[in-house]
Symmetry: C2
Subunit: 230 residues, 2 copies
């Protein structure tokens, strides 16, 4: 069985788990807390980032978008209509652009700040000191959510799925990021009708189920987090 | 002819130009200064990042790694031994890991700070105010160069090319970043024997020539910048 080093509040990790789920790849999950800088983990990935997939023959495949390309080449290419990257280079470029939007831009402007301040610092505090959340960083990240959700709303309102006519890596990347914020109660769904409809469709996919049972000790999700009909 | 929006001191832009050169794709270059936030450019790329390739039918392909995948699918796949991504999924993952290393990690720890403080602020000052370079940021970035050059040295000493047996996207990404630092005189080549040998091989490729004639007004490159035998 393959092994995935991940963290439940890392958007790249969630993205990878969704893809593995969509392609029915069984995987053993190992939760990695990067701030421990485990030597065995750094030997696998000198950049000390998540996620890392131990693929066939224990080959380490490093980083969410790289794992996604690897899975497209080794799994997706055989999936026909269930493939999560379209066939044409132009459509593939559009899907990849959106993946980068969520896993890099949205990540740097919103997700990683809220994950660090509200989750990682809590976990660090429990096992190695840590510090209290920085309310300025939290406020700045929260201020950026609206612009991104507006973009999601526009994509959801004008396309069948965020990346085009079919579910794609773009939906998985967006849902991975948004589900972390949703766990933390950071999304006001009343504002986003098309976005909410899209998210509820993604959330209902079997690949999403394991994410809905993720729990952070000491930080329960909002009440509607696991609801398919929220 | 295709069009590339780029900046001579953006590593992703240089990476793309090297690939286009390797694949003999003629391209018109338009220098984009992101801080102007040109509405026409933002219409092409709402994330307002470089590079952007206007490909066939004026399709905007956005971001260095995404352009690289697009060019692999539309050009590289037909190039046989001159293809810059290997054939096997495992080797492709290793090349992509190194590309991400240079265009994300090295970029965030070194290149973008030095480009911003030493080049962009100079250009901003000339056309819209700007501020003086932040010497703390420069010092911090400089402190990180050594670790990365050690890694380049190790890769160059243990492999034929950085990503394996053949020239690949990994070499182009590393050379793109390092050539910016070299322009700025930030690399002490005496320290890195294998790295220097590798860089001189890359620098001698015809695809590299246009980069060696890049000039920033008011900031001449170090004397050896254009030398193939430095």
């Amino acid at each position: 069985m393959l092994t995935l080093f991940h963290h439940p509040m890392s958007s790249g990790s969630r993205y990878t788990r969704l893809i593995l789920g969509e392609y029915d790849v069984e995987v053993e999950l190992i939760e990695e807390r990067l701030w421990h800088r485990r030597p065995e983990f750094i030997a696998l990935n000198p950049a000390c980032t998540l996620p890392v997939l131990l693929a066939e023959n224990d080959l380490p495949v490093i980083g969410a978008t790289i794992i996604a390309e690897y899975l497209d080449e080794t799994r997706g290419a055989l999936k026909r209509s269930r493939r999560l990257l379209p066939e044409s280079p132009a459509e593939r470029a559009e899907v990849r652009r959106l993946v980068e939007w969520f896993l890099v831009k949205f990540e740097n402007e919103v997700t990683r700040h809220l994950a660090r301040e509200r989750v990682f610092k809590l976990q660090m505090a429990a096992d190695m000191g840590g510090s209290s959340p920085d309310s300025t960083a939290i406020r700045a990240a929260r201020n950026n959510i609206r612009q991104h959700m507006k973009y999601v709303e526009w994509l959801a309102a004008t396309r069948d799925w965020l990346g085009g006519y079919h579910p794609s890596y773009a939906d998985m990347a967006a849902a991975a990021s948004i589900s972390i914020l949703d766990y933390l109660g950071e999304i006001d769904w009343n504002e986003w009708r098309a976005g909410r409809d899209w998210y509820s469709r993604i959330k209902s996919r079997p690949s999403f189920r394991p994410l809905l049972t993720d729990r952070i000790r000491g930080l329960a999700p909002v009440a509607h987090y696991g609801d398919l009909d929220f």
